[in-house]
């Protein structure tokens, strides 16, 4: 982008697993915000669910002393993303402006190589052209493209909200304020487990949280440099 903000932005998300109770509000909010297709019970059970965000569930311990752990899993917006180099048509690529891993739907021809190469299994594929059952068809978000069959999609960090906030800030001639951008999942989370913000802002809430002792990045050893930071007091379990 030519008119890049003087203040460079690097959007990160912090997810506090100690606060997550696995309610799934984020999953629903994400689907509503991003026009995520509704694939039906049967297809979903077969692993064709389109959720950009899913709650990964782990059981810890042996019965009857079982504890459950939840881990919301979404595209980690890797700085060094494995999905990017394998795409033959540049449908998945890096946005220099927002430092996000973006998916260009129009370019995608559906090789699904990116999905195989994603260690977070974060990508979903449009197996069919999906219909939204009534009355959900009135609910489509006009800010987000509706995808057709045969292409890949994934979490965008609600880029439409980021862009809206950036434009507003630019019009008012100020940087984007901390907390001004909230992805749908963060907005819906009842326990405020999900926090979103700009890493470059030294006073931001994400910065403060991410530097806590409980912070870790998932599958960090792969060198993908994810931009989602999890917080957990039992981080060895993940």
């Amino acid at each position: 982008m030519a008119e890049m903000d003087p203040q460079h932005t690097k959007w990160v998300m912090v997810i506090d697993l100690d606060r997550c109770n696995g309610c799934g509000a984020c999953v629903t909010a994400c689907a509503m915000e991003n026009n995520v297709a509704f694939t039906g019970e049967e297809e979903n059970a077969y692993g064709r669910g389109m959720h950009w965000l899913r709650i990964v569930r782990y059981w810890v311990g042996e019965w009857p002393n079982v504890q459950v752990r939840f881990m919301p899993m979404l595209c980690q917006q890797c700085s060094n993303a494995p999905c990017e180099p394998v795409c033959p048509v540049f449908a998945t690529m890096h946005s220099e402006a927002q430092e996000l891993n973006i998916q260009v739907y129009n370019r995608c021809i559906g090789t699904r190589y990116c999905a195989n190469n994603c260690p977070y299994i974060a990508r979903t594929f449009n197996w069919f052209d999906y219909e939204w059952p009534e009355p959900l068809n009135f609910h489509l978000n006009p800010d987000v493209t509706v995808r057709r069959r045969g292409i890949m999609e994934k979490c965008t960090f609600c880029i439409q909200r980021i862009r809206a906030a950036e434009e507003e800030a630019r019009m008012e001639g100020r940087p984007v304020r901390d907390g001004e951008v909230q992805p749908a999942c963060a907005q819906a989370c009842p326990t405020e487990a999900i926090v979103f913000g700009n890493w470059q802002d030294p006073n931001s809430k994400v910065r403060e949280l991410a530097e806590s002792q409980r912070g870790f990045r998932f599958l960090e050893e792969l060198g993908t440099e994810p931009k989602v930071i999890y917080l957990s007091s039992q981080k060895h379990e993940f």
């Binding site: 297809e43 077969y46 692993g47 064709r48 669910g49 990964v56 569930r57 782990y58 899993m73 494995p82 180099p85 394998v86 795409c87 033959p88 048509v89 540049f90 370019r107 995608c108 021809i109 559906g110 090789t111 699904r112 190589y113 999905a115 195989n116 190469n117 260690p119 977070y120 299994i121 979903t124 594929f125 449009n126 197996w127 069919f128 052209d129 069959r149 045969g150 292409i151 890949m152 599958l219 792969l222």
Partner: protein
């Protein structure tokens, strides 16, 4: 050698050698021409029935199912998260593998002057071309939006976008195209003198066809020199291309950040696997030609099955070596996810497929092929062709589907069941292959007559003292 001057016991020995070796059993060129042309023009009722069935089955199971798939979406295939590649990619790797041996048998044996190749180089090269035609469909079939496949081609376009040259799929696309063009030309060059022969001896539409295809070949010394030179160049040049193609296919997997795929040995392992499935397929094809095409019993003899059998045994040992290396080192590494993948292969849901692979690729070939009597039986080699190819299909299934079923997030492990549409398309490529092969068997001379004749000139029998010895003359 004048047979009349031979004593009776030597005469018997000569007869024996002639029956055994095609190259010691010369027939006049005219007769061989006639035999090959007769085989080519032998369009009988059975042939038409078989070809009609093959054609119809291909139209329905391959193209019909593919059209249905495109109109509804890829969801008709059984693939799902996290197994995004299924039977299509398995079949793709399988057919690329088959396509290898045609060129391998022909080019490698040609540059090393292995004489037993002479009658079946063409049959093997045809296998390469048609297997590639089948394989080449899969990268299109498996796309979510097949109608946009040309976006992978580097050409100046209104999108102002080159393909991503870092993507192994683009390497694939370029490698397969190179190989298809190269191997087709390599098939065509030695065909020219035979087409000219057919042109001189046929009438009607065939005459027109062969006149066009034989490029005005007259058989002057100059033309022969150029042809020999061109064949030499192509035979040498196609070998590295062939190696590169299957290595690049293996890189589709090996460069991925996927445990079970990310293996440095995949390049040579895939090449050996490809040659294994291809050589055994040549055995099957030769058997089919021998039993179903006229006059072929003269050209294709037990000695050829014997030679292929030996080659197959060695390649099977080579495959076992790479397989063992790959498995052992992965296991020794002790990575949790890899351990789980290997457990899934050997004792999990994938076990029937994995053990099929081991039995068909190692156990059965090793038990059968050491025995000369079995190697010499055409039907045994045809059966080996089927068995080894079942084993190699299983190998690709294990690698593609098995590895994808297990990943670093146990919550997202999955299983996969091929759907009817997928199975139908996979079977459709087999019928397509046999249909194209059947068509070619009546359109072009299946036996390179001039190469066989060349062999006849080079090989002979000589009486020395009280015995008969085989002699070989260097031609070039």
């Amino acid at each position: 050698m004048q047979e009349t001057t031979l004593p009776a016991e030597l005469h018997e020995r000569v007869e024996e050698l002639r029956e055994e070796h095609l190259l010691l059993d010369p027939r006049p060129r005219e007769e061989m021409n006639r035999m090959v042309l007769e085989a080519m023009e032998d369009v009988n009722r059975e042939y038409i029935i078989v070809m009609t069935i093959l054609g119809l089955v291909t139209a329905v199971t391959l193209f019909g199912a593919w059209g249905y798939l495109m109109s509804k979406g890829l969801g008709l295939a059984g693939i799902r998260r996290p197994i995004y590649w299924g039977l299509f990619i398995v079949s793709f790797v399988f057919w690329i593998g088959i396509s290898h041996a045609g060129t391998f048998v022909s080019a490698i044996l040609r540059v090393f002057k292995a004489e037993f190749r002479r009658p079946f180089t063409r049959a093997a090269e045809l296998m390469t071309t048609f297997a590639l035609a089948g394989a080449g469909l899969y990268p299109l079939i498996h796309l979510g939006r097949t109608w946009r496949f040309y976006w992978m081609i580097p050409y100046p376009n209104q999108r102002w976008l080159w393909p991503n040259f870092r993507s192994p799929l683009v390497w694939d696309f370029l490698a397969i195209n190179t190989y298809l063009l190269g191997s087709t030309m390599y098939l065509f060059l030695p065909l020219i003198p035979d087409l000219a022969m057919a042109r001189d001896k046929s009438k009607g539409w065939r005459k027109v066809l062969y006149t066009i295809l034989s490029f005005g070949w007259r058989g002057t010394e100059e033309e022969w020199r150029h042809l020999q030179k061109a064949i030499q160049i192509f035979a040498w040049a196609i070998i590295p291309v062939m190696f590169s193609v299957h290595t690049i296919v293996s890189w589709d997997f090996a460069v991925a950040m996927k445990l079970g795929w990310h293996s440095t040995i995949f390049g040579p392992y895939f090449i050996v696997g490809a040659i294994l499935s291809g050589i055994s397929a040549v055995g099957f094809i030769l058997y089919m030609i021998r039993i179903s095409v006229k006059n072929m019993r003269y050209f294709i003899r037990p000695e050829h099955f014997d030679a292929l059998g030996k080659l197959l045994l060695i390649i099977s040992m080579g495959w076992a070596y790479f397989f063992f290396n790959e498995f052992l080192l992965e296991w020794y590494g002790g990575e949790h996810t890899v351990q789980e993948i290997l457990r899934y292969y050997t004792t999990g849901d994938m076990a029937p497929v994995w053990w099929t692979m081991v039995i068909c690729n190692i156990l059965i070939p090793w038990l059968v092929l050491w025995n000369k009597n079995w190697r010499r039986k055409p039907w045994v080699m045809a059966l080996m062709g089927i068995i080894v190819n079942i084993g190699m299909y299983a190998e690709r299934y294990v690698i593609v589907v098995g590895a994808l079923s297990r990943n670093r997030i146990p919550f997202d492990w999955g299983w996969y069941k091929p759907s009817l549409v997928e199975i139908s398309i996979a079977l459709g490529t087999f019928t397509l292959f046999f249909f194209l092969y059947g068509l070619a068997s009546r359109l072009i001379p299946l036996i390179p007559v001039w190469e066989v004749e060349e062999g006849h000139h080079a090989h002979g029998l000589k009486r020395i003292g009280k015995g008969v010895v085989k002699t070989v003359a260097e031609l070039e």
